[in-house]
Symmetry: C2
């Protein structure tokens, strides 16, 4: 229970100013005062603190509007650095970025072959050590390490409970890394990290609620409300992939029937292709996309159908979570060109009210590094802690 103290007062104002600078840089002190309602002396004194701490810096003067030129303020992007890790099914990738998400160093290791928890953890550590050595940045300037881990993650304890594609369970990531590095460690599910990264780096402005959906081998999603990840009470919110949309559908790897991902992940697309055109030889989802690009009607049609079903899943999402924006990413969305028309059409068709039909649905603009940037954003959100 956060009491009302002087400290609260101060930190609230400090965060308001810091976030104003972050979202509106370059901006002058006078402008901050005008927009936040704080008085110029208050703004001046807090900005001074921020400058002393190194988080904010002054730059060139701005344009005069009839008087003295304002001194413009910026986030001092290289004041601190963050380490982000994407621990996917096939490899570990690790980056070091500044506060704007600019990547300075990058390492990676393959996860192919048989792995133990210990081996996995030491691969993580080795990559982080390598990044630290390469960058030669003092530990004090690093805010922490964010880890986007595929599978089921317990956020509070920082454990990976189930990592299906590595065939591992119960990996105490946070505990082990804390022993090794004196830094804040955040562990999060990869789709959720990606969602946060999307809301942080995706240029979506001030959106009250957003869901980012990753469609690839599986279907995962993250829910961001007021700039913060919404976990639900068991870190399961947004588990879109195993939403039942067809009582009599195929059996999913989870044991249930008719999960969304049995219709729309890569394998499902291939399967549907083979079923409908039973003269089809071996083919991959990527090849279906490529053939669609070349105008092959069957492939175009299969992708269009896939878009329809994604649209049905998203409509369920709109009716339950009702975000103002949905961002789509992942391997399957590379076929955006053939998927989006039917996705949007289906939502128009099925959403109940005119306002909900207007939900913004779009493809991510962050490319392959979306998850890595998500891992990074886990720590940036802490630092900037948006006030709503």
């Amino acid at each position: 229970m956060q009491r009302g103290t002087f400290q609260l007062m101060k930190t609230v104002n400090k965060k308001i100013i810091l976030n104003k600078i972050r979202t509106s840089e370059p901006i002058s002190r006078a402008q901050i005062a005008k927009e936040t309602g704080l008085t110029p002396p208050t703004v001046s004194s807090i900005v001074k603190e921020l400058v002393d701490e190194g988080l904010v810096k002054e730059s060139k003067l701005g344009e005069s509007s009839g008087g003295r030129k304002p001194t413009m303020l910026h986030i001092n992007s290289d004041a601190f650095y963050v380490i982000g890790v994407d621990a996917g099914p096939e490899m570990v990738e690790c980056v070091l970025t500044d506060l704007t998400g600019e990547i300075y160093q990058r390492t990676s290791s393959s996860l192919k072959g048989q792995l133990s928890n210990e081996r996995f953890l030491s691969l993580l550590k080795e990559n982080i050590y390598a990044i630290l050595q390469l960058s030669k940045i003092e530990l004090e300037k690093i805010i922490g390490i964010g880890i986007a881990m595929h599978g089921v993650v317990d956020v509070e304890s920082g454990r990976s409970l189930i990592a299906p594609n590595l065939n591992l369970r119960d990996i105490p990531i946070k505990d082990e890394l804390s022993k090794e590095f004196d830094l804040t460690i955040k562990v999060e599910n990869d789709a959720r990290a990606m969602a946060l990264g999307e809301s942080w780096f995706g240029g979506h402005g001030d959106v009250d609620s957003m869901v980012a959906v990753n469609i690839g081998h599986g279907v995962g999603a993250g829910v961001v409300i007021n700039g913060k990840l919404y976990h639900g009470s068991h870190d399961m919110a947004g588990e879109l992939g195993h939403m039942t949309i067809d009582l009599h559908g195929d059996v999913c790897m989870c044991g249930n029937r008719g999960c969304l991902q049995t219709f729309v992940n890569g394998d499902a697309i291939v399967k549907r292709m083979k079923e409908q055109y039973n003269d089809v030889e071996e083919i991959t989802a990527k090849e279906i996309y490529e053939r669609a690009l070349q105008g092959e009607a069957a492939c175009v049609q299969i992708l269009g159908e896939t878009g329809n079903i994604i649209g049905i899943g998203l409509t369920n999402l709109i009716h339950l979570i009702n975000p103002s924006k949905i961002v789509l990413g992942g391997g399957v969305m590379k076929s955006e060109k053939f998927l989006m028309p039917t996705i949007l059409e289906t939502i128009q068709d099925r959403a109940l009210t005119s306002k909900s039909k207007e939900t913004a649905v779009m493809v991510t603009k962050l490319g392959d590094d979306a998850t890595l940037l998500g891992a990074v954003s886990l720590l940036l959100v802490e630092l900037f802690d948006p006030v709503s």
Copy 2:
């Protein structure tokens, strides 16, 4: 953007103390200080204000634990009153309650027959006037009027956009009542109001997130997060009834196929009964329940199947919103005895992780007045404004 001011500090602490008293009454000043971390002088001075405002009152002394006896504090339940209105498909009900939800007056009017917006609004006004006259309570002691309206509601403007069962559209409830009464007016969808009422009066303690689901003519739900209604960005969050769970299901009144409510509302139960046992004469859902009570196997089986499908819907809810508690109510849930076993079984079966299988699922303990109390809670939440 809420700045950090002395006022903020004060109101935060005041709300902490007020809510501590509300949830833990009777409680002494010393105990409040201990549990909130505020210092005794701070507690004393704020309690004094609350007593002066009439919201809190002192009662008998408590038991000594080796020193001066503590003075116990209570919410002064008759300091203020609230008017709650349930505008359902068939009638308008109106109550006046005190701060604990105790009902003091009650009126109602039938909505049968052809109605215009004007007639509907004057019925509302007449009921409210009647309540005011009966109770003889001064307007100053009434916090406001909460209205639980079936159908689609725009909360911000306080308009009923679509009232399907009355065949009305676009009723400016808040505007019209504001002209008539100098009171705060809150308009909310009935299922959502019910959800808030459930979390407020249902004795669930401090639950971080809760969904209340109403299964009757339709299926509606409300999402309560940290004691506050979560609306989503278009007042649609929790629109469970039109979640697609079967791509090839029957056509719903909304035009889509396979909506949850085409499987589990009253009509659906009757329809399934007729389909499976095609020698069945006219029957109502209520009769199916009664026959099940008398041991008729067919009816027991139909209700069991219904429970299964409700369970599938709730599992989708668990995976998307992931609340820590789900409370079920509405006419169909009167068959609780035959529904709950399969509901719980299905969730056990289908929920993905062991923690999510543990989601508490239960039937509401508030009876027929759940929606009315929900309407009342719309204003109580404002007054007590839970701090999280």
